[in-house]
Amino acid sequence: MLKRYFEKVWVQNLALLAMFGLLVYYFAFVFEFKYDFNWAVFTTEGQYGHMGHLMLNGLNTTITITLYSAAIALILGIIFGLARLSSFKPVYWFATCYVELFRNTPLLVQLFFWNFAFPYAFPEEIRFKLYDMDFEFWVATIGCGIFTGAFMAEIIRAGIQSIPKGLLEASYSSGLNFTQTLRRIILPLSFREIIPPLGSEFLNNMKNTSLAMTIGVSEVCWSMQEVLSLTYRTFEALIAATLIYLVLSLSIAMILNLVNVKLKILPRGHEPMSRKVADTLFAPLEWLGSGMEYLLWYFRRRSDTSKTVSPLRRLLRVSSKGFVLAAKIGFVAAIAYVIYMTISAVASFNFEVIWANLPALLFWRFPGGDETEFFMGLGGLAGALLMAVISIAGSFVIGLLVGMGRTANNRAVRIPCTIYIEFVRAIPLLLVIFWFYTVVLDIMFKIEVHAFWAATIAMTFFFAAYIAETVRGGIDNIPRGQVEAAKASGLSYFQTMRKIVLPQALKQMLPALVGMFIAAFKDTSLAYIIGVMELTRAAYAINNRLMVYPFEIYTTIAVIYFIFSYLMSLYAKRLERKLSPESVRIAM
């Protein structure tokens, strides 16, 4: 009977209201914060300056880095995405190396590498010139751009490859020339494929800029930390930073949504309001596109009507061939030079230092595995892997439930799940870790845990939101007819989920889950910020002792991260091939 009541919308709304009321009641009357908010810190000039201005400066820097790095990433993504399709092998190999290398190492380690080690590759004069030009800012911007570019390259490659050959043949045979085909067929179709994942990369890029803090760029997270340590206003600083990221994420999501609406194929005359808004907003782009097409029409290659080729044209043809050949040779030479430089740089490493510290990097036991230490001082790579395993296992359970909740018809379940997913996905992991470490566990739940657990729990809740989205995608992919058939044969909701939907959905999700595990493994590096002795922090501590070998240590951990992530991504690829619906018969 209860169940029937719960199917009514007003009951669901009431339940939502009750939950909200309970939360408000709890935090307003029952919960003892032992904390008085003082928002005046952001509006008044204190002993250490104006904190509001500090945050605004941070916001300014974050937006600047985000915009620049997004542009860099898009350009790199297009170049390398196309290069991955090149038939000229050296270009293909180079692009593949770029994509695999930068996708399989943590951004944090990349930033450390660019910041601490890379300058030493240059002679002193150039290095000092570099330092004069706001070096940290550009390292963060270009570093984020290169990192995101590697992800975008893969998306763009997949998007272009997804266009069926038949469509191109059809468009040529219907008389369109290449530029028209490009603009009318290839780009719109591949864009439709690309835009949603590309959009989430833009969003990720914005969140990733929070890591610029670690190399001394004063963006939002940096300002937040500064406010924290100058005023000890934990809540205010955290809430301000979180709100800033929320607003930024929501604005990006809104723009992406408009783009999506714009690209949707709709019957003429039935456009909804959002489409009209999008149409007016993107009208300039439309004019630009048709203008280009108009211009290009006049520069199209005219078919040769005469049998003879004029000497000038022949010369042009020969020289363009020569130019292409020269470019190819130049490219190979440049690659050879880069390889030579890398090998000679690696050869000049102090391998003794690496060798002596490798055990500590793999199994950090500090100091000598003191009994008061966490897990007898376990850390380094072993700690990072443990963290990734625990957090993915935990987030799988939460993600499964929340993902199911997100697809539920019941509002009282769906809305809280949606809020959770969207909220967590809108803020950077760095902030989530801060929240859990300083506020959620400690002040709200009064649980005192080791930083390792705080970071692991934070990562669990963070990745749960992403897994929930994957689960939702998996569930949505199951044909509706199956659910209806299950319902008709008398199965309850949970039976349908357990016996019909989830087994199929999970199989489809497996590669994505392995990908998530790789992301979790790489993101354990962020726990460094609260002092967990995982791989990055162990490297940091070793650097702190040695002081003069950052190049060696950061390269070593980059290689360690790469080896593990790359092996896992190879495994994910194999899984994907093995589980693709064409080759596997789903047995139940």
């Binding site: 250490y48 001394g216 500064e226 000890y232 009064k446 002092g531």
Partner: protein, 274 residues
């Protein structure tokens, strides 16, 4: 309905958890015989990891001695510049005391309590040998400092006073990053408490030197939980006892004496109550 029930249950559980909190620090330490000390592990020579993978330093020795005198076992907890205050500020505190080359400041004292000053330091600048001849040379240099400390604020104010209206002070995340910035030439000087600078200068002997005067007073205090006078007294008396019987100077000379790697002559006396 089921959802509601679960929500209510969860809320009740949280409430129950929030009621149970520990008593005052002094009673707890005396009954459990364990004292938790927050220590830095990257502040040479106060608390750092040496090449034998041991956690050593002036602060570590001080904490060990204090714990010994209280008859308790020492439990070392890593803190950094961003967490050293909040770890004693939380309720219950995550650590019972923080020794992390932390300056006693009035703003900080509003949040936590401090012991009497147990170390006297001041902020200085470290630069390449010969790079800075006059103090005024500092004004237009690019300066590095540490994020989460008041050194940035002090340095900015000082450079302004020297005549640079728009000084460039960059706050790095931790000591390594800051020193690396100086070593690679990214900044021409770095600034923080002089003893820490000495520790780094000793890593590459003969290349760097301290320049200029002390630009601030940095009296170090042990950070203690707010409003626990029994605990604060216990720590203060222990410090004074250590000073009286010479243990303090033994530890001091081990790290800062004339034969140590970071010589820093003792010029003051810790506060002694008759």
């Amino acid at each position: 309905m089921r959802v509601l029930k679960i929500t209510v249950l969860a809320a009740l559980l949280v409430m129950a958890a929030s009621v149970a909190f520990a008593g005052p620090t002094y009673d707890r330490v005396m009954s459990t015989k364990v004292v938790k000390a927050g220590l830095s592990n990257q502040g040479i020579p106060f608390g750092f990891i040496n090449d034998k993978n041991e956690w050593v330093g002036f602060d570590v020795d001080m904490a060990t001695e204090i714990a010994k005198r209280l008859g308790a076992k020492l439990e070392k907890v890593v803190v950094n510049n961003n967490t050293r205050i909040s770890f004693v500020q939380t309720n219950p505190p995550k650590v019972d005391m923080v020794l992390s080359n932390m300056t006693h400041k009035r703003v900080r004292d509003e949040k936590i309590d401090f012991s009497i000053t147990y170390f006297f330091d001041g902020q200085k600048f470290l630069a390449k040998k010969g790079a800075v001849k006059e103090v005024t040379d500092l004004a237009n240099l690019k300066v590095g400092s540490m994020q989460g400390t008041t050194s940035i604020v002090n340095a900015t104010a000082y450079l302004k006073k020297l005549g640079n209206a728009n000084p460039k002070v960059i706050g790095y995340d931790g000591e390594v990053a800051m020193f690396e910035a100086l070593r690679s030439g990214r900044v021409q000087a770095i600034t923080t408490d002089s003893t820490i600078l000495l520790g780094y200068a000793a890593k590459v002997p003969g290349q760097f030197e301290l320049v200029g005067d002390f630009i601030s007073d940095e009296p170090y205090g042990i950070g203690l939980p707010q409003d626990d006078s029994a605990w604060r007294d216990a720590i203060n008396f222990t410090l004074q006892d250590m000073w009286k019987d010479g243990t303090y100077m033994t530890i001091y000379n081990k790290w800062f004496g004339p034969d140590s790697a970071y010589p820093f002559p003792m010029t003051e006396k810790i506060e002694m109550w008759p």
